[in-house]
C-alpha cells in the first residue's frame, strides 16, 4: 500500500506525511505499515485506488448518488419477506418525530446524572420494559446489536463460571452472531462447540447432552432460531444445568417476546438479542440496538450502563447511574467489559415503541405475525413441490424448500416485485434449495396470496 503524500493537494485531509509515518513505524519497531493490517483478510483489502470520478459539484454528486440509489430494491416498491435478523414492522410515526427533540437527539451520556433526570427516566423505562418482556431481573441500557450482545453474554458467563474453556452455541443461532463471537474469543483461548438440529428444526438435544461436558461454561440457543423454529427452553435448560453452564437465550426477532413465554420463565440466566424489531427501521442493517437482561445474581458481572431508581433528600423519586464503579471510565483496564458506549437513541426509539404499543399492542403484533405466517404456510403447502422442511413450531419466520436452487427462484420473484426471502445456502452448506421467509403484521392477505401465486409460477417456469 502506498500512502498518499499530504504535501500534494489531493490528500490535504490526511495529515501523516510519509516522513512522519516513517518515524512512527521506527518507534514501534516495524518497517512496513502493512504489518499493522495483517489481521485483515487479504481478499477484503483494496488493492487499487477507489474508482471515484470527479471532482464534481454538489448537484452532480447528488445526481450520481441518486442514480446509484435507484438500483436498490427496496421494501417500499417491493413486497418484502426478508427477515433473518432484521424485520419490517409497523413504526408509529410519532417515534421519529419525538426522536428529533433536541433533548433526546443531542444529549450525550448522562455523566452528571443529577441534572439528566429526563434522560435517566427514559433509560429506566427502557430497562423496565426489557425485564418485563424477558422475565429476568436486571437489564442494561443497551448494547450495539444482537451479535455483539451475544458476545457480551458469552464473556459474562465466563466471568461467572471461570476456569472452563468451552461455550456451546446452537448451529441455529444466527450464523453472523456466532461468527462475531468467534472473532471476539479467538484470542482468549475459548472453544466454540456447535450443536446442530433435528428434523423438527429444534436443537438436537442428544448432541447437546454430549457436548455439555464439565468444561462448558455456557450454552447459547436462539428462539425462535435462525430457521424460525421455537426451541424447547425447558429441555435445554435441564441439560445445561446438569453441566453447571450458564444458559443464554438469544432473541433476534424481539416482537416474539410479546406472545411467547419469556426465557426467564424457563430458568434461563441471560436473555440477549436484537431490539430492531421494536419500531426501529431496518436502515440498511444498522444502527440497531442490542439488549441484555440477566438474573439478579449476575448483575455485577453485566457490562454496560445501568440506571437505578432511588429517592432524593426530600424522599422524592430520582434516578441515578448505578454500578458505574465497574465501568471503564472508573475502573480502566479492570472494567467489567470494554463496552463503554451503547445505542441510547435507538434504545429510546424501542422504549417509545414499547410504551406506545403497550401490552395489548405487543400481543396484537405477535398474534398477527403468528396468524399470517400460519396462513402463508398452509397456502404454500398446497403447492405440490413446495416443502416446509421443519416440523417444529414457528413464530413468523420459516424455511421453504423447492426442487430448484433458491437463488433462481428468488431472482424470479424479484421480477414480480417480491423480495421472497434469504437463501439459506450462504449460511449452511447443502441448503441451496432452501430460503428463509419472514412474515409480519405489515403483510396483507393480498401480499401473501401474491407470494403464493408468484412462487407457483416461478416453480412451473423452472420446470420447463
Amino acid at each position: 500500500m502506498s500512502l498518499p503524500d499530504p504535501l500534494t493537494d489531493q490528500h490535504r485531509y490526511i495529515s501523516n506525511a510519509s516522513q512522519d509515518v516513517g518515524e512512527m513505524l521506527e518507534v514501534i519497531g516495524i518497517d512496513d505499515i502493512d504489518r499493522l493490517f495483517e489481521t485483515i483478510p487479504a481478499d477484503v483489502k483494496l488493492t487499487e485506488l477507489l474508482n471515484i470520478p470527479g471532482p464534481w459539484s454538489e448537484i452532480e454528486s447528488r445526481r450520481w448518488f441518486r442514480a446509484l440509489a435507484a438500483k436498490n430494491l427496496t421494501a417500499v416498491d417491493h413486497v418484502s419477506f426478508l427477515g433473518g435478523g432484521a424485520y419490517l414492522h409497523y413504526q408509529p410515526a410519532c417515534i421519529d418525530q419525538l426522536l428529533l427533540r433536541a433533548e433526546f437527539l443531542t444529549s450525550y451520556t448522562p455523566y452528571q446524572p443529577e441534572v439528566s433526570q429526563g434522560t435517566l427516566q427514559s433509560i429506566f423505562e427502557y430497562q423496565t420494559h426489557q425485564c418485563l418482556l424477558t422475565g429476568l431481573d436486571v437489564a442494561n441500557a443497551s448494547l450495539y446489536d444482537g451479535s455483539t450482545g451475544l458476545c457480551e453474554a458469552v464473556l459474562l458467563a465466563e466471568r461467572v463460571v471461570r476456569k472452563r474453556t468451552k461455550v456451546v452455541i446452537a448451529k441455529s443461532v444466527h450464523p453472523q452472531y456466532t461468527e462475531t463471537v468467534r472473532t471476539y474469543v479467538q484470542n482468549l483461548g475459548y472453544e466454540i462447540v456447535e450443536v446442530g438440529w433435528t428434523n423438527d428444526g429444534r436443537i438436537d438435544t442428544e448432541a447437546l447432552r454430549a457436548a455439555c461436558t464439565n468444561d462448558v461454561f455456557a450454552v447459547a440457543v436462539q428462539s425462535p432460531n435462525f430457521l424460525g423454529v421455537i426451541e424447547d427452553y425447558d429441555a435445554i435448560a435441564q441439560i445445561a444445568d446438569a453441566a453447571g453452564a450458564v444458559k443464554i437465550a438469544v432473541i433476534a426477532e424481539a416482537t416474539s417476546l410479546g406472545i411467547l413465554t419469556p426465557p426467564g420463565a424457563h430458568g434461563f440466566d441471560i436473555a440477549v438479542g436484537e431490539g430492531q424489531a421494536w419500531g426501529v427501521p431496518t436502515q440498511y442493517g444498522g444502527p440497531f440496538v442490542g439488549f441484555m437482561v440477566v438474573k439478579d445474581a449476575l448483575k455485577r458481572h453485566m457490562p454496560g450502563r445501568l440506571v437505578g431508581e432511588t429517592v432524593d433528600v426530600d424522599g422524592k423519586r430520582a434516578y441515578v447511574l448505578t454500578l458505574a464503579t465497574r465501568e471503564q471510565h472508573i475502573r480502566r483496564g479492570k472494567a467489567t467489559s470494554n463496552i463503554c458506549t451503547n445505542e441510547a437513541l435507538i434504545a429510546l426509539a424501542a422504549n417509545m415503541y414499547l410504551s406506545l404499543m403497550g401490552k395489548e399492542g405487543l400481543r396484537e403484533v405477535g398474534q398477527q405475525c403468528l396468524s399470517k405466517a400460519a396462513y402463508l404456510r398452509s397456502e404454500l403447502q398446497k403447492i405440490g413441490s413446495v416443502i416446509l422442511p421443519f416440523s417444529g413450531p414457528v413464530y413468523n419466520e420459516f424455511v421453504v424448500r423447492t426442487p430448484f436452487p433458491a437463488a433462481e427462484i428468488l431472482a424470479d420473484l424479484e421480477h414480480h416485485k417480491i423480495l421472497g426471502g434469504i437463501p439459506l445456502g450462504q449460511f449452511y452448506e447443502g441448503h441451496d434449495d432452501e430460503f428463509l421467509v419472514a412474515v409480519t403484521e405489515l403483510h396483507t392477505r393480498e401480499n401473501l396470496d401474491q407470494f403464493v401465486a408468484a412462487l407457483t409460477a416461478a416453480i412451473s417456469r423452472e420446470r420447463r
Binding site: 471461570r162 455485577r300 464503579t325 465497574r326 472508573i330 475502573r331 479492570k334
Partner: protein, 131 residues
C-alpha cells in the same frame, strides 16, 4: 484498636491464626473499610481455589469504587464467608469478626511471620495517611 494476634499486609488484609492447625482467617482491616466507605458487594473465590501470595482473590465494591483483594499468603481456600452475600456491610461494622472473608490452609506458613505486627501496621497506616 488493631488486634494484637493478627498479622497485616501492606495491601490492608489481615491474617488471623485459628486456634489450631495451619488454617487462617483473612479479611480487610478496619482502616481499609473506613477508606472504602459503605461496602455494597464482596466477590469471593470458590472453595478449593489455590492461591499464591499476592494473587487477586476477589474484589470489594463500595459506593465509591471497586478494589481488588490480594491474598497475603499462599494456600488453599477452605471456606468463604457466605454471610457477606446478603450482608456485605459486615465488612464495615465488624471487619475483624463477622466481616471476615475467607479461610485458607497455608502452604507456606513462614509467610505469616514475615507480615507486619499490629504495632508495625499502625505505624505503616499512620505514614500512609500522612501522605
Amino acid at each position: 484498636m488493631t488486634p494484637e494476634d493478627n498479622r497485616y499486609a501492606k495491601s490492608h488484609e489481615y491474617v488471623h491464626p485459628e486456634a489450631e492447625g495451619d488454617v487462617v482467617v483473612i479479611g480487610i482491616t478496619d482502616y481499609a473499610q473506613k477508606e472504602l466507605g459503605d461496602v455494597v458487594f464482596v466477590e469471593l473465590p470458590q472453595v478449593g481455589t489455590e492461591l499464591e501470595q499476592g494473587d487477586e482473590f476477589g474484589s470489594i465494591e463500595s459506593v465509591k469504587a471497586v478494589s481488588e483483594l490480594f491474598s497475603p499468603v499462599s494456600g488453599e481456600v477452605v471456606e468463604v464467608n457466605e454471610a457477606l452475600n446478603d450482608k456485605p456491610e459486615l465488612v464495615n461494622t465488624d471487619p475483624y469478626g463477622d466481616g471476615w472473608m475467607m479461610k485458607m490452609r497455608l502452604s507456606t506458613p513462614e509467610e505469616v511471620d514475615e507480615m507486619m505486627t499490629a504495632e508495625e501496621y499502625e505505624e505503616y497506616v499512620e505514614k500512609e495517611s500522612a501522605h
